[in-house]
Amino acid sequence: MEPPATLDQLVADASARIAASPSLGDLRGVEGELLGRGSTIADARAGLRDLGPDERRTMGRLVNQATAVVTEAITARRIELEREETAARLAGDAVDVTLPGRSMVPGTLHVIRQVMDEIVDIFVSLGYTVATGPEAETDWYNFTALNFKPDHPARAETDTLYLDYGDTAEGVLLRTHTSPMQARYMEQHQPPVHLVVPGRVFRRDPLDPTHSPVFHQIEGLAVDSDITFADLKGTLTHFAREFLGPDLTTKFLPHYFPFTEPSAEMHVLYRGAWLELLGCGMVHPAVFEHVGYEPKQVTGFAFGMGADRMAMVRHGVTDIRHLFDPDLRILMQYR
């Protein structure tokens, strides 16, 4: 008998059939024909028991080899076909990923909020803390404690909004700046003080491109035993560079505020033009006296800046009314 030749031929034929199987179903059929009941290999294996011991051993090895080769070929082909089928299925499942996704579109924080947060963070990084205060305020905190004379024009009803509230002669007003928190905070805390106060303030101005009856300020205050005008200049210049750019040039020009002396305005050279950025000055001794600090023992500086103005400067807003417009086509730009 010449079974080896038959098996060799069989393996060669089988490899070709396996490789040519077009689908997993087909492959299963081929597998049955090659290895299943009645297949040449199965018959050969069954015929082993009729052989003598030597032949059986030799023949058995050949049958096992043939079985292994065929099984391996089938497995390889199966993996290949499975991969193809998965690929074909996923191809049919494809989605154009450039179609709009399903998302929860986030809203925005108001640009004034973003600017206030950013400014606050710059000062927090310098070791300042944050406080907020009432918007309806007493005359005392808004004016008197800040060294405004009783007849100061800012107190006039043409400039300041008053509320019909309480029974004090001076009345309750809408704070015209965040500076009242200087006095409130110092009354409650002993020096040293390093404070910023973001908040909403009010003036009796009709809404027009450059005015709003409601706007936002950030107040700052630093008080310690040895604070000088040099600290004011250095700190505010540092702030301006953090906020608007590292190479920014600043200049300080004398100005007047009742609650600081000397007072100054900080101007910055921004995008080619000098721009007044904020008002500042050394805390007036009268303010220290009003809050119970001893002006001979402490000095300090204070500053205030308009958050709306900062937002306008940075984002090219030329009409403040846009900042108070709830139009989503504006709000969506505040990203």
Binding site: G107, I112, P134, V214, F229, L253, P254, P326
Partner: protein, 800 residues
Amino acid sequence: MKLTLRWLAEFVDLPTSDPAEIAAAFERLGHQVDGYQPLVADFERVVIGQVIAVAAHPNADRLRVCTVDAGDAAGVADIVCGAWNFEADAVVPVALPGARVGELAVVRRTIRTVVSNGMICSERELGLGDDHTGIMVLDADFPEAGERIGADFATLLDMPDVVFDLTITPNRPDCMSVLGLARELGALFRVEVRQPVVTVAEEPPVATTAISIADPVGCPRFVGRELRHVTVGSSPLWIRLRLRAAGIRPINNVVDASNYAMVELGHPTHAFDLDRLGDTVVVRRAAAGERLVTLDDQDRALHEVDMVVADADRPVAIAGVMGGAGTEIGDDSTRILIEAAYWDPPSILVTSRRLGLRSEASARFERGMDPNFCHVAADRVAQLLQQTAGAAVVANRIDVYPLPIDPVVVTLGSDDIERHLGISLGLDTAAELLRRLGCDVAPGDPLVVTVPTRRRDIERTIDLVEEVARLHGFDGIPDRVRTGRGGALPAEERNRRRLRRFMAGAGYYETAALSFIGASDLDALDLPDDDGRRNGIAVVNPLHDGQGVMRTTLLPGLIAAAASNVSHRIDDVALFETGLVFLPGPADLPEQPEHLGFIRVGTVGTDLATPGRPVDVRDATGLWEALAMAMGVTGAAVRQGEAPELHPGRSAEVLVDGDVIGVVGELHPTVADRAGLPGRVVIGEIAMAPLIADRPSWRLEPPSPFPPNIFDLAFEIERTTPVGDLLEAIAAGAGDLFESLRVFDVFTGGPVAAGRRSIAVRLTLRAPDHTLTDHELTPVRRHIVATVVAATGATLRGEV
């Protein structure tokens, strides 16, 4: 404050005439420069000419033919002229062909058959004034013009010049004048300032007006100057040009002299017609009921706080604010009293504000003039009127000064400078700087500084420190950056930011509404009269009615904001705001709680596959649940609410630890309709304090490694029983084993009895330390059911 460079130069020789450098110097001194503009003649090649002969025009009755000598270069020319205010020999400005006058290029042209070789110009044509009643006749204003026939007319004028426009801070009334600003520049540039020396030639007789001051607090000093033989008329061109450059309209030589002296020296004066005033002047407060017709022809009621100048009987001027019509200088006035007084600043401020009358004079007096300068101002006006109105100055200036005001003396020690400015500046240097400002400084440590009375802003040491800093220059102070002891946001502020970021992350856009509402905004919410939000605090002086009340709720602002977007055809709108609302409270100040408000209209979840789902009340309650989770708030709950502005069946109260802190739900359809909002409107307003309060940090609970027991329960409850109560009872009944639950089915009808509904819940129980057995679960289930039945009257439909 506007002034010209040439005027300044009369008082100080500046080291530069570059306007940019001068503007920078003003700014270094603290005087804001709003701008500076060249002041140039708006004409070219206009020459001084002399009319040689005037002849009638052959073909026009109203025109004349003038023969004009325009100098050696141009020769003699015939010019047709329509003006009749001159005759032969008049010296006039002439524009020959080739000249430019304003926009007009002058050419030779024929006027009714006669050739006209140019034009003789009026003030208005040359842009020098408003006068166009005739041509300019130069003889009177420019006596030297006749010697300069053929010369460029512009050389007669103060041109070219530069006009500076400054904003003077309110603490520096002494700088509201050419002299004051010259002093500032002189101090900065270290150059001498020429002090005004005003001399008048006095003539007999002696002044006879009897001036008395009844209220020396209101008027510590009153100086009077009598003038006679005044001829009221137009001021010379040089005065009018300077006043116009300073932004003041020329009126007549008397008013102009007063204004000129004010711009030049700072101190306002007032002129009375003595013949109409009489010979008695009393300076006093107005009496109740007195009235005065002021220069602007308004009949004004006076008040007892107003200082007035009165004759023997009645007020003739509101002191320092506005004169009276009855003693006004008229064309026929010849006897004049010049008043140069020092008025108490607060009195002037009160009166000018009360009357709504602000004048150049009141703006100066209310800030404070120099009481020791009145006599110079009076004399300067008298001097000008001698020159311009032919006035004779009556001898013996009247000077009533019952309360002399002395200079203030302030000390400045070396440590004062270093402590505030951070620089060591010798006291010698400081003294030198202060002397440049006119202070008298006695050496020593501290320096003893006598401050001129014009410097009302200098009262204490710190004021001297400021002056030293200003003249030394802020640039001469170094920069120093030091840090404070903080460095982190306070918890509340951190949580505020967390809340806002959550809202933005949830798809809401932050808005900033004004803090005012109008009463009608609350009507639009259908709030009943007894609603707390009706107790809004009124603004005493609102800009308009729509801003007459402080907001008690954020809802009107949000509704208006959403409606405005809808009107722009933006369909899906989600907005939020955080801010203070204002409510009456027990304290000195209103209660001002911080609220979160939100509104949402349109749809959510629109994508290619799914059309948007219209928003409804569960978007509101869901937002609250998510917010509470995001803020780490435990004890958050929801219950049926009854806010009047909300849909009665879709209104919820939200709670933290049992306290109601806000309402969420759907806006009442009537309210929404009224606002122009379509469909269901999700809205809510929540007090922020409980959400942003600092809270103890959480402790980790290790998760149980044991499997859960998950099972379903279905209950039937009354339709009116809140599901929330049921869920609460289930959780309570499950006790420590409770992990989570989920409502997975709600239905009515079918097998469920009318008026009742079925709620199916999937419940997850788990023990921390062992696997739950059926044996131990049976009583737990029984306890859950019992708890639910007891709490809600539910019946168990079955374990699904």
